[in-house]
């Protein structure tokens, strides 16, 4: 009888092509996702060396980071010349190398991490890579998925493998049930708050426990998406009936007898009883409140009921970092988080740009208007999410409330396209990073869940969404 294995061990073992004495492995890659920003130099490298893409049928490309999200983009012209050149380079590379491609004007276009699962490219037990750190998203399916740099993009294009050493196993268990108004985003931020942005460095995290099982596939993607903000190489959730149900019938998922064969294997993808984890973190779901970030690192997390901390509350190098963050964010220690005034609300990104996220925000906004002078934007994660939201009447709720209803893309999550914050502009954002300058030069970001973002749009300040839920119950 072999030793008990973790889910990560099982997927890893199923993909080792060769192993050297020092433990360095050649790992086979089942799916390679590509976008326009981190790939041009890799394709250029292939051309210079006269190398083809080894497995074009396993390679999927979509432009997302740079594309405008205004509805006039259907005219096909990207005003920013550098952005246009990058998107055109991807158009050409996809065609020249014969890879699967969803161009800007295809309704299936969207953020690469939303398109992959939506089209059934992402399946349990796979290895998935992309030149983008939020590739961790696909771990929600029980796939080993992580970000790589451009040199590795070129390596995967040329060889369909990566040179890797195995990470350690970390278990993050969320026991019990979430309270109303608390979401997957709050779980993932609370975990980072507890472990720090370096807490997962060197590990692959498996998220488990009742609160994780209870999440929809959309929620699980939100949790795994931010594994990287905790420093982990990847985040994983064991596949179950919800996963199989989500996958079934998607365009690139197996069909008929092949689906049954796949299912047979997928059902073996769980951590064996007694398998070893090098690190274990346990949080109680009941104790997680809706959270917001106050600083410029995703670990700067507090419950919405909290107050802005003082640099002296921290230790070591974090004291200076906190001082710098407070200065950058224009906040004063002791200030109540709910007193922080917001200029802008952004709902979207690979973290929270799926249909369930839009439903959660629309639920809070229904029949209401955003605060006067508030700038508010919804950017669906894909053209198909956008179409579904229109069909469900969510788009109209956003528009009636005063939100801009945009086309799909990464948008203000990283502000490579025209959707940016101006200097000092303060944003409640459903994205994943609150770094200095992330959403625009000197822009100020507070990371929140979609429901919390909607609540802030209505009141004009960071708000505990649970108070609004109580209101609607009373009414």
């Amino acid at each position: 009888m072999s030793a008990p294995k973790t889910l990560y061990d099982k997927i890893w073992d199923a993909h080792v092509v060769s192993q050297d004495e020092d433990g360095t492995c050649l790992l086979y890659i089942d799916r390679h996702l590509v976008h326009e920003v981190t790939s041009p130099q890799a394709f250029e490298g292939l051309r210079m060396a006269g190398r083809p893409v080894r497995a074009p049928e396993k390679t999927i490309a979509v432009p997302d980071h740079n594309v405008p999200t205004t509805t006039d983009r259907v005219s096909g012209v990207i005003a920013n010349e550098e952005s246009r050149i990058q998107v055109e380079a991807l158009d050409k590379n996809a065609k020249d190398f014969g890879i699967n491609y969803y161009p800007v004007n295809d309704i299936r276009q969207g953020i690469v991490h939303i398109v992959g699962p939506e089209q059934g490219w992402t399946l349990p037990g796979m290895t998935v890579v992309c030149g983008d750190s939020h590739t961790a998203t696909h771990g929600a399916f029980g796939a080993l998925a992580h970000g790589i740099g451009t040199s590795e993009v070129e390596h995967v294009l040329a060889t369909q493998t990566l040179i890797q050493k195995k990470s350690k196993n970390m278990k993050v268990e969320i026991t019990g049930k979430l309270r109303p108004g608390v979401t997957a985003k709050d779980i993932t931020l609370a975990v980072i708050g507890a472990t720090g942005t370096g807490g997962g460095t060197g590990y692959v995290i498996e998220y488990c426990g009742e609160a994780i099982r209870d999440l929809s596939m959309e929620g699980r993607m939100t949790v795994c998406n931010m594994a990287i903000e905790g420093g982990a190489r990847a985040g994983l959730i064991a596949p179950d009936e919800k996963t199989f149900e989500y996958v079934k019938g998607r365009p690139h998922a197996p069909k008929g007898a092949q689906f049954e064969a796949a299912l047979h294997w997928w059902k073996t993808l769980y951590t064996d009883e007694g398998a070893h984890f090098d690190k274990v973190v346990t949080l109680k779901a009941e104790e997680i409140e809706p959270v917001v970030t106050w600083g410029t690192s995703p670990e700067d997390v507090l419950p919405i009921s909290g107050v802005v901390p003082a640099p002296e509350d921290f230790k070591g190098g974090k004291v200076e970092a906190a001082r710098r963050s407070l200065d950058y964010m224009g906040l004063t220690p002791g200030q109540k988080l709910t007193d922080i005034q917001i200029d802008t609300v952004f709902i979207g990104s690979c973290t929270n740009g799926r249909i369930e996220d839009l439903r959660a925000a629309a639920e809070i906004l229904k029949g209401k208007k955003i605060k006067d002078g508030m700038r508010a934007m919804v950017v669906p994660g894909s053209g198909l999410v956008r179409a579904q939201a229109e069909e469900e009447g969510l788009a109209q709720i956003f528009i009636d409330a005063g939100f801009e209803w945009r086309m799909a893309g990464c948008s203000m999550c990283l502000a490579m396209n025209p959707d940016q914050l101006s200097e000092g502009e303060r944003c409640a954002s459903t994205s994943n990073r609150n770094f200095e300058g992330r959403q625009g030069y000197k822009g100020r970001t507070h990371l929140v869940s979609p429901a919390m973002a909607a609540a802030a749009a209505l009141t004009g300040h960071l708000t505990d969404v649970r108070e609004m839920m109580a209101e609607s119950v009373d009414a």
């Binding site: 060769s18 399946l123 060889t159 370096g198 420093g231 998922a253 064969a261």
Partner: protein, 201 residues
């Protein structure tokens, strides 16, 4: 890739923790389709004001650190986005070695692919190097990859660990893709097996 063996250079202190890749190279410089020329925009928002003038008290703008080739950095260096533009910008500026108590995983790997050596050391040893770096351009450190040693300006020797395969690639200036393609037959047979075992992929 250029071989990395032994060199002596100026070390710049950057004690700030969690220096992320957005700080190292802001996204406006990610629109390039080339690898070269990013050094001038390294740490752009910390290094220049809105008009493009240098901010005098930023470490790499100080006369004694303008030629730095080693960074002594705070914990969790290179966290955030996977952009290889970050190591491209550092390498283009002339940085060859970065020392910290920890690095973000993707950044760590990306650095080796660009002939740079990221070194992880315990806090006490990083503190020694940080202090030495604060002496300015008189404090030249020597980094010897073969013997895995850093020698400070006053002769203190600090040993460091490095993955043997990555060390080999740096010392020889090897191209990963070329190495892997030597194993093409192993990849072929893996694919043949998988076509049987997991045909849906």
């Amino acid at each position: 890739m250029e071989k990395f063996t032994k060199f002596t250079g100026i070390a710049a202190p950057m004690p700030l923790v969690n220096i992320d890749t957005d700080m190292i190279i802001p996204k406006i410089f990610l629109k390039t389709i080339k690898r070269s020329g990013l050094g001038v925009n390294l740490f752009d928002e910390m290094r220049y004001d809105r008009e493009g003038n240098e901010i005098a008290d930023f470490v790499l703008n100080k006369p004694q650190y303008r030629e730095a080739s080693i960074l002594i950095a705070g914990d969790n260096f290179g966290c955030g986005s996977s952009r290889e533009h970050a190591p491209w910008a550092l390498a283009d500026f002339g940085i060859k070695v970065i020392v910290s108590t920890s690095f973000a995983d993707i950044f760590f790997n990306n650095s080796f692919k660009n002939g740079m050596l990221p070194i992880v050391l315990p806090q006490e040893q990083v503190d020694i190097l940080m202090k030495d770096a604060e002496k300015g351009s008189n404090a030249r450190m020597t980094v010897d990859l073969e013997s895995q040693e850093i020698t400070t300006s006053d002769g203190t020797v600090i040993k460091f660990d490095v993955d043997p395969f990555k060390k080999h690639c740096l010392l020889e200036g090897l191209d990963d893709i070329g190495l892997t393609l030597e194993k093409a037959s192993a990849i072929d047979s893996f694919e043949t097996q998988m076509a049987q075992a997991r045909p849906w992929i």
